[in-house]
């Protein structure tokens, strides 16, 4: 272990010097020394690969980046026959091979000819650092900045030396700041330096939220020098204060995000159950159908995963909506005036639908990929980052909600369905096409459940039990908000989401769930008709 | 408030602590007055349904309550029977029962019966059972479990069935009755309960002329022993039973007096009767 560290450091130092010396060297001169190394790499076992990589790094410069990246992503292959490496790429579902340096497409290669060069976690860590080291001199400021930040945790002498050398020439403010931070960290940790310098450095550090800074400061609280300890403590305190504020925002976001999931899951039910009065136990399965639709859509357009969502949303709406219309026409419409019995029938339907997907798609979960634009997170600062998929889903939930409210407010459907649910016969006598209204409304509610399925497929399992896991929550949200009140559903979903997420850190997930349930039970005692009750003489 | 004051307040001599008061005290009608409604106010989202309403009903009186649609008659009954909470005011039954802190069942058990404007009966039970349920009996859980119909009770029900003309339909489900029959059944439910005070909301709606007459007779015969408050828009009917008539308007009393006085009251004519009706619409 130690031995390896030393060699590593040695080589890093070496390669840092090389940046300066050979920054203009050409690919041609390198490849001569590179090729055998690459061949070696292709033949090596995972555990023998690191030294080879160190050597590769030592003899090359920025031009090696594509190679390292390809390797990091697991796309580097080795052509045994030619003793050459090649990158495998995929565009629109087609795999092809190209030279990682020249980007020349090599059409003469088939899958059996090549072997994947596998990497493991250690190698990936190494590769990332190597890339960062190389990128310190990248032309793009943001790449340089990331490189510096990447290296914060690995500040060894040579890196520091490089940074010190690059620092005066750095023109970009942000990069310079990051470098300054790294250097300050270095200064702060050097016990041989003057105390006043160290304390000044610590003060600089106190404005950063980087984890590495905090870890360094924590170590410094055990420093031999009392003044340094005090300064470190003060700085830590300052950082903690800022971090706590962001932690609160973080938690709030978690709550909103959970709320948006609850909202999506229950909004369709707010229509079929809340407005129409159908105790729709098959609601969960409508969500499930939506999720499976997403899966099928992705199957049909494997090369356009990024766009598949845009197809999946309308498709899921149609599939679940049509299924809803079908159920309404075949079953629900015969149960008018018997709302409790809709529970029985729709429960039966939910069993059938579950078994149906189990038969068609197997009982196993299906794989739904996330579009690249929905993956990852939006890093606001080192302690606050919001995951993109959740952010989109939050926005999406609100959008669906608004659209729904508009549909119900601005079209006659909303009015008619309420009239029908309050007095079917009288609605008929007023010329309302009750059959049509019922079918459309149930279809709308189901369709929205389907859309919810698309969103949920991005977060959780797509399997036959998907619906089951949301049905109870959905009913809870609708009832807590007040049956028949869409706004209530919205508020209830977010209330429950936020409450859960603020409880969770102290109580743990299980207890939080229990407490929220108990809270709902007690709350309903105070407000027996939910958050937004239907008022008036007729409401009882 | 000083401690002394609050202690005094606590031990005021004119007050009995609720838990010391006898649970089912007789209704005290010492002043010949059975119902006191004072300064009653109630508004729904800013709309004043009852507006400083005062109303006193004598024991044994038959009082007609009229007033425009929406004047607050039904709402008043809602407040008296505990269905609706008022914003301010007092409602006393006799001198000793504050109705405002009692719930519907307690009020009913005190002897206040009500017929609703829209007939409400237990649709899935027979006419007979509807009446049995309304009998004046101990209505607590255990006594109800062990009670059996006594012959006198059965006779009582039979009597009432005859009175309301549903003897033939005694075993029919109440839900299958026509609108008018339900009205009668509801009156019957009131009768078997033998309440002290009857609040009757539009009893003759949907009844034929003869039935209306019969209802009038029935109600007149009840008065004296019982106190009856009737709300009705059928002026002919009101005239045939009324001794005192109170007119409500926009949540407060507009006029009170005999039928003749009322019929000639300009305000009443304007807001309620209309010229012709005041002149006495002839059949």
């Amino acid at each position: 272990m130690t031995l390896r560290r030393i060699t590593l450091r040695h080589f890093i130092a070496l390669c840092c010097c090389l940046f300066g010396l050979f920054s203009l060297s050409t690919h041609a001169t390198e490849s001569a020394s590179l090729d055998p190394l690459l061949a070696e790499l292709g033949e090596a076992k995972i555990k023998d690969m690191e030294p080879i990589l160190v050597k590769i790094e030592a003899v090359s410069d920025e031009t090696i980046l594509p190679l390292l990246r390809t390797l990091l992503n697991g796309n580097l292959y080795y052509i045994k026959a030619e003793k050459k490496v090649i990158g495998q790429f995929e565009t629109n579902g087609e795999t092809f091979y190209k030279d990682v340096f020249t980007n020349e497409i090599n059409t003469g290669i088939d899958k059996p000819d090549v072997d994947k060069i596998r990497v493991n976690n250690n190698l990936r860590g190494y590769l990332r650092n190597a890339i960062a080291r190389i990128q310190l001199t990248s032309k793009s400021p943001s790449v340089r900045e990331n490189a510096v930040r990447e290296l914060l945790s690995k500040l060894d002498d040579s890196t520091v030396a490089t940074l010190e050398r690059l620092y005066p020439y750095e023109s970009n403010k942000k990069v310079k700041e990051a470098m300054g931070l790294a250097l300050a960290m270095n200064t702060a940790s050097q016990t041989e330096l003057a105390v006043s310098n160290r304390i000044a450095a610590i003060e600089t550090l106190s404005s950063s939220l980087e984890n590495d800074v905090r870890n360094l400061l924590t170590t410094l609280t055990r420093d031999d020098n009392a003044a340094v300890v005090t300064a470190a403590n003060i700085a830590l305190e300052k950082i903690a204060q800022r971090a706590n504020r962001f932690a609160f925002v973080d938690q709030l976001f978690f709550g909103l995000s959970l709320g948006s999931v609850l909202l999506l899951a229950s909004i369709g039910l707010a229509i079929t159950f809340g407005v129409m009065g159908v105790i729709n136990m098959a609601h969960g399965e409508m969500i499930m159908l939506g999720a499976y639709t997403t899966y099928v859509v992705q199957l049909m357009m494997p090369n356009y995963i990024d766009y598949s969502i845009w197809v999946a949303i309308p498709a899921a709406f149609l599939v679940s909506g049509l299924m809803g219309v079908l159920i309404e026409r075949l079953v629900i419409c015969r149960l008018h005036g018997r709302p409790l019995e809709t529970l029985l029938a729709t429960f039966g339907i939910s069993l059938i639908l579950q078994q149906l997907v189990r038969t068609i798609f197997s009982p196993l979960n299906r794989q739904v990929s996330s579009p690249s634009w929905m993956s990852g997170s939006w890093e606001i600062n080192p302690v606050l980052s919001l995951t993109l998929n959740r952010l989109y889903i939050l926005a999406f939930a609100l959008l669906v909600f608004i659209v729904l409210v508009i549909v119900l407010k601005k079209t006659s459907l909303g009015l008619n369905v309420r009239a029908v649910s309050q007095n079917r016969n009288m609605a008929k006598a007023m010329g309302v096409k009750t059959n049509w209204v019922d079918a459309m409304t149930f279809g709308l509610g189901s369709g929205i459940a389907g859309i919810a399925g698309v969103a949920l497929s991005q977060l959780t399992n797509v399997g036959p039990n998907l619906g089951q896991s949301y049905i109870i929550d959905s009913f809870m949200v609708v009832v807590f908000g007040g049956v028949g009140n869409l706004l209530g559903t919205l508020v209830a979903a977010f209330t429950l989401g936020i409450a859960t997420k603020f409880l969770e850190p102290t109580t743990g997930a299980v207890l939080a769930a229990i407490l929220v349930l108990v809270f709902i039970i007690l709350f309903i005692q105070k407000r027996p008709k939910g958050l937004f009750p239907q008022k008036g003489r007729a409401a009882e | 408030m000083s401690t002394l004051d609050s202690t005094r307040e606590l031990f005021r001599r004119d007050q009995v602590w609720p838990f010391l008061a006898p649970a089912q005290a007789e209704v005290n009608v010492g002043n010949q007055m059975i119902l006191y409604v004072e300064d009653l106010n109630l508004s729904f989202d800013g709309f004043k349904a009852l507006n400083n309403l005062n109303l006193y009903i004598n024991d044994g009186e038959l009082r007609c309550l009229i007033g425009a649609n929406g004047a607050g008659k039904t709402t008043l009954m809602d407040v008296i029977t505990g269905k609706t909470q008022c914003d301010s005011g007092t409602v006393f039954f006799g001198q000793n029962h504050n109705l405002l802190n009692k719930d519907e069942a307690e009020i009913a058990q005190l002897g206040i019966g009500r017929k609703f404007q829209k007939p409400t009966v237990f649709e899935e039970q027979t006419v007979f059972d509807n009446l049995e349920l309304s009998l004046k009996t101990d209505k607590r859980v255990l006594p109800t479990l062990f009670s059996r119909l006594t012959p006198t009770q059965i006779d009582r029900i039979d009597d009432v069935l005859k009175t309301i003309g549903l003897a033939k339909h005694r075993f029919m489900l109440a839900g299958a009755l026509s609108h008018g029959q339900k009205q009668w059944l509801e009156i019957g439910m009131l009768l078997v309960a033998e309440p002290r005070l009857l609040l009757i909301d539009e009893p003759v709606a949907g009844m034929t002329a003869q039935e209306t007459e019969r209802t009038a007779e029935l109600l007149t015969s009840l008065a004296g022993e019982r106190t009856v408050i009737v709300v009705e828009h059928d002026m002919e009917f009101v005239r045939s039973i009324a001794r005192t008539v109170t007119v409500l308007h926009q949540g407060s009393v507009l006029a009170e007096g005999t039928m003749d006085q009322i019929q000639s009251n300009k305000d009443v004519i304007e807001v309620y009767l209309g010229e012709e009706a005041a002149a006495g619409e002839q059949a």
């Binding site: 009015l415 010329g431 | 029959q181």
Partner: protein, 235 residues
């Protein structure tokens, strides 16, 4: 206008209407009378299509209605004011009235965005209560709303089931005037079930007496005499 031929009607096992015949002439005001429970409401519901009839035929302007759903009949021009009002309780007064607008626009060929002003002229109280829930209205207000709601449809035939139940005298009078006015000015055909003789006499032009699910007497209103009343209306 509407003719009813040999209509039988059952509730479960009990027959309510027995081979009932009834002819409603266009532009008439026909008053159907009878004791409680003889089947008046049942008959009106059958005309409106809210109850399936067992046998017989109901036609309107020569076309059979038997197969038509209630909503179709609303489009064909039948307006219905049910006994017990049947207001949509959780809809506001305005919404209660708006429900009929699509039918109205189809029937009048204009496409009104708004509730016709004449409804509010007839029942001013509805204007004040426009944003209150129907179910919160007082009984009489609801009755007015029910009539107003039927008039929004601009019907050819208006079916009224005891429309004066619970309505204050001056408005009863007013409703009578409205019926007469619509009948006179727009030729509205009216089928009216009414117990109160005074009103029936004032408004009705024809009367039909019912007993045990059959029409037992029919004539002009002038000819409704005491013996008939004694025979069919007294208890």
């Amino acid at each position: 206008m509407i003719s009813i031929n040999k209509v039988d009607q059952l509730y479960g096992g009990t027959q309510i209407l027995w081979g009932l015949d009834l002819e409603i002439v266009p532009g008439s005001i026909t008053c159907i009378m009878g004791r409680n429970g003889v089947g008046k409401t049942t008959l009106l519901k059958a005309i409106m299509g809210l109850l399936p009839i067992k046998s017989g035929e109901i036609t309107m302007e020569g076309e059979t209605l038997n197969k038509q759903s209630a909503e179709k009949r609303a489009y064909s021009g039948i307006g219905y004011v049910p006994q017990g009002r049947d207001i949509f309780p959780m809809l506001t007064v305005e919404e209660n009235l708006r429900i009929g607008l699509p039918v109205r626009s189809k029937r009048t060929k204009d496409s009104p965005k708004d509730i016709p002003e004449k409804i509010f002229e007839l029942f001013p109280v509805l204007k004040d209560m426009l944003h209150r829930r129907g179910g919160d209205l007082s009984g009489g207000q609801q009755q007015q709303l029910a009539i107003g709601r039927a008039l929004v449809l601009e019907p050819k035939v208006l079916i009224l089931d005891e429309p004066n139940e619970g309505i204050q005298p001056n408005i009863v009078k007013q409703i009578g005037d409205v019926i007469l006015k619509l009948n006179a000015e727009e030729g509205l055909t009216v089928i009216l079930v009414e117990q109160k003789l005074g009103f029936a006499r004032r408004v009705g032009k024809e009367f039909r007496l019912m007993e045990k699910g059959r029409i037992v007497a029919a004539d002009k209103m002038e000819n409704l005499n005491d013996s008939l009343i004694k025979q069919y209306l007294a208890v």
